[in-house]
Amino acid sequence: MSKQLFGGLLLIFVIGLALLFKAKVDPDSGPIDFKEGNYPVSESDTAMGNEQSLVGPSEDVPQEMVNDMLDGLKEADRARFQSFLDISQSGRDNDPRIDSELKNLSSELKNQMKKYYRSLAPERRNERGFVSFLISRDAKSVEDLEFVGEVLTEEPCLSMADCKNLSDRDAHTGAVDQVSINYPQLVSLYQLESRLAAGSLDLSISALKEETRSALAKGARSPVPQIREKAEAIQKKYNL
């Protein structure tokens, strides 16, 4: 057996032991009984029904506020905003309406989406990122780019569970968190870069060029290295 394989097996064994030990010493989990359907469930697992899940309909935005947003739109945009809400709340990222109904958005519709974004809890990373994706993919005004700048200057989110507080980190799956906690910002920069690469952001309009420059400068001042480095790379690549 090679030294590397032995090391790997030993590592898995140690992790397995640590997991079992943790479950055994957790006063909430009780003794382990691995018989079918009788696995240890901690207090927090069983308490789930009382918590607000971050996948599914958002309770952050009161229905009255959503109704006001819908009322502020013309009929065609109202239907598109409803589609936007359906997709955002279902978390089904592969809905084909994303690339049909939710392209070429009117400024009124984008304004309501921006309002919706600001109403969402900061921990709603995917929903917030969905809005920043739609606006930055479709950015064609100074106001849209101001919104991109606003997203890039947000206070950093510290953890998936609570943006204001650090939580225990898990090195094994931490890479997913690393992207998700910065997701709205990374999406904005990804879209800006795609637009610049495709030449679909009209930088011959000086106001748009200035606002793009301003948004990237905000990203480049981010305390989050992942965001700052991405913004700096775009600045350098496109001389902005």
């Binding site: 394989l5 790997g8 097996l9 590592l11 992790i15 397995g16 997991l19 943790k22 479950a23 957790d26 989990s29 359907g37 696995y39 240890p40 901690s42 927090s44 697992d45 069983t46 789930m48 918590e51 899940s53 971050l54 996948v55 599914g56 359906d86 978390g91 089904r92 990222d93 592969n94 084909p96 309406r97 994303i98 921990e123 990373r125 995917n126 994706f133 953890s159 998936m160 569970a161 939580s167 225990d168 980190r169 898990d170 090195a171 094994h172 799956t173 931490g174 890479a175 997913v176 968190d177 690393q178 992207v179 998700s180 906690i181 910065n182 990374l186 999406v187 305390p223 992942q226 480095e229």
Partner: protein
């Protein structure tokens, strides 16, 4: 309306297709639904190409291929804290390599759909006992990025150096899920722009867990091959 109906129908059919997955009684209904919806989403992917590394690990980019990959590795799903912290899922190969454990973070945290899917495919790879469960390597010390800075698990700290959170092969759990996502980003013909963007963003970040520069370069060459 028509498109929305097609989406709902394909999700329903996808869930039926993954109905063989056995959930423990204590897995909450919302977690079961989310897992089946995510698998259904992966199960409906249609690709128009694949890279050499993808062909080697999964075969072609398409839903049925991913479904077979998952179903031949994971038969049961249970609930566990998976070591606590922000873990979303895990496998415990010494107990039962074909069982995946989910944490309440699976639905409590707001990750994009493709990111959640990446985690379960990463864990499914760990179920391969014949391959030593693709145990992770310790990240090198020091473990620096291209700019010469310490790689961290999140921006606030927790250096990865010395942690069992790297792969030296493109076939390991980090490597294979990077290959899968990068191929979805490049070749998925029926994915939304958001899914392809998400796949690309998460894949490129995950690539940072490959600790051997020559392997990482080979993966980049594989992704960029015409």
């Amino acid at each position: 309306m028509m498109k929305a109906t097609v989406v709902i129908l394909s999700l329903v059919l996808g869930q039926i297709a993954f109905a063989a997955l056995k959930f423990d009684k204590n897995v909450p209904a919302n977690i079961q639904t989310q897992m089946l919806e995510d698998l259904a989403f992966i199960g409906q992917i249609q690709g128009n190409g694949q890279t050499k590394f993808h062909q080697e690990i999964f075969a072609q980019v398409d839903g049925p291929t991913y479904k077979t990959f998952f179903e031949t590795r994971i038969f049961e799903v249970g609930m566990n804290a998976c070591g606590g912290g922000s873990a979303v899922a895990c496998v415990m190969p010494f107990f039962n390599p074909n069982k995946m454990w989910l944490t309440k973070n699976f639905t409590d945290f707001s990750h994009p759909q493709v990111a959640r899917s990446m985690v379960v495919f990463h864990e499914a790879r760990h179920s391969e006992s014949k391959n030593g469960n693709w145990a992770h390597d310790n990240c090198p010390t020091p473990f620096l990025d291209e700019a010469g800075k310490d790689k961290t698990s999140i921006w606030t700290g927790a250096r990865l150096e010395g942690q069992p959170a790297c792969d030296s092969s493109y076939k390991g759990s980090y490597g294979s899920s990077t290959v899968m996502l990068k191929n979805i980003a490049k070749f998925c013909a029926n994915c939304s722009e958001k899914v392809r963007m998400d796949a690309d963003i998460y894949a490129m970040d995950q690539l940072g867990r490959i600790s051997v520069p020559a392997v990482k370069d080979a993966m980049i060459a594989d992704f960029n091959a015409p």
